[in-house]
Amino acid sequence: MANLFINRVSKRNQYLLSTLLICCISILCYGLSTYIGYRVIAFILLITVSLIAMVFDILPVLFAALLTALIWDFFFIPPYFTFRVSSTEDRIFLLMYFVIAMINAVLTYKIRRVERAVREKEEKSNTLKLYNTLFNSLSHELRTPIAAIIGATDNLQANNAKLTAQNRNELVGEIAKASFRLDQQVENLLNMSRLESGFIQPKEDWCDINEMIYGQVKAIEENKIAQKISININPDIPLFKLDKGMLEQVVYNLLNNATIYTPPENKISISAMSYADVLQIVIEDNGQGFPPQEITHVFDKFYRLKNTSAGGTGLGLSIVKGFTVAMGGDVTLENVSTGGARFTINIPAKTSYLKNIKNE
């Protein structure tokens, strides 16, 4: 937090703010000077400098140290309103004050610099770890379909007489399957980079939730899935003003996940309702659910459950999370007591009940 603050305050403003703070404290002390001795006031000023040193750059802090020393000398050390100091003791005190203030400033600054260096190093190693995971999962996820395409085309081009018509068809089928997988991965990566860039801005428009959900279920069913998907939408659900494209991606990824990671005989259900201008979509399956200790990590980028079969980049759910948050909502995961996983999405949005008004 402090770091962010410094980055936002310009050098000139740092001088200004320091001066302002010191002046305020000094005036306060001046009012209290009948009750407390001037040596206590020296400590109060020293604390002020220390506080400034915690957030500002070195030069403004040194400036603050100098300023407080002068103020203390001029207003508080007798004789007042002159820089002259009469007693030797006070002279030594003033000198010590100045040195301590300087050391304080320099030390705090140095500590901050070391801290920053450590943090940067940590961030770097985290990024590196992330990239390694990315490269590992990507090289698998992209290379496998590419290998399938190259292998299949090699076989077809070799024109081997032993290749039966059925073999040929199967090879072409493999190429098609691999291409779709590649396309899906590229789509995920593009979405991820959109999120990473931080420029993602939901394009809000009125959305018919009924149409959106049926559309996504249809898209999933086109993947020739084995599971049954049941749909349950409150018929009175209003139109919601939100980014339909993003919501579609969220619903698609969750349904897709459910179809990939649950056995074929399982049931998947999707339901939607609205309460007080919040859209709630619940996607539930009766599979095995998630290992409880891993639930908090499933939305992390590139996170993959331990002991899962190969495949998947760990991007799907992090995109779900990213898009939902970008739309101002949230997504949670819990295991259902009867077995299975339940994803709940809540998105606050403008609603329109125009739907229920009879036209003309």
Binding site: S179, D183, I231, G245
Partner: protein, 228 residues
């Protein structure tokens, strides 16, 4: 309609090869251009029956090529694009493109879009009766029948449906539909469109939740498709 001449403007050699094989094996004559300049010159010297235009060309932005072509070229133009950016697509459609396809697209999809665009190019005013499966729409008498039973439509619903029928197979953008049916003041009132599309589907679709006639083109608009 056999042997229609198609001009492909695309800088990717692989894409041109694929289109060449696809189109030739479906009885089209194909001409190819690799740049915007070459494409415009080819289109001007011998206007083709249809243009397939890639939106990402090396020498000029596809949108400006589209605008230039539309100054005089009236036959269908279908846009090919790698970006599934809805804004891009809507812009192209508003600039006069007849249809669009996002790469990678399926060959069947391409041929269907081409057929419907070419069909639209020849207006069949003589036959104002539209039939699809058990749905009959007579534009002359303004009647709509499903399973031989007359369907009651409000005036707005009928206007919307008639607009779809006249542009069968073509994607109509939200703005276009709102402007044509409700007027220019309503082009941002997309909630009207959502409501009326839902109502229309309830009346003419077999399963309003799995529409087959009025198909949603997400983020772009709607397309009216007849069952062959």
């Amino acid at each position: 309609m056999n042997k229609a001449e198609i001009l492909v403007i695309d800088d990717e050699a692989q894409m041109r090869k694929l289109l060449e094989i696809t189109l030739q094996s479906n009885d089209y004559i194909i001409k190819e251009a690799t740049t915007a300049r070459e494409g415009i010159a080819l289109a001007a010297s011998h206007p083709p029956d249809m243009i397939l235009l890639d939106i990402g060309l090396p020498d000029e932005d596809g949108h400006s090529v589209l605008k230039k072509l539309r100054e005089w070229y009236t036959n269908p133009i279908i846009i090919l694009s790698v970006q599934s950016s809805e804004e891009d697509i809507v812009k192209a459609l508003d600039n006069g493109a007849n249809d669009y396809l996002v790469k990678p697209f399926r060959t069947g999809e391409l041929l269907a879009r081409m057929r419907s665009a070419l069909r639209l190019a020849v207006p069949e005013d003589a036959n104002p009766v539209f039939k699809s499966d058990d749905l009959v729409i007579d534009l002359a008498t303004r009647t709509v029948k499903k399973n031989n039973e007359t369907i009651k439509l409000t005036a707005t619903e009928y206007t919307l449906l008639a607009l779809f029928v006249k542009n069968e197979g073509k994607v109509l953008t939200h703005h276009y539909l709102l402007r044509e049916v409700w007027g220019p003041g309503y082009i941002d009132q997309s909630q009207y469109l959502r409501v009326f599309i839902a109502q229309l589907r309830k009346k003419i679709e077999n399963d309003p939740n799995r529409p087959e006639l009025i198909v949603t083109e997400s983020g772009v608009g709607y397309r009216f498709v007849s069952k062959e």
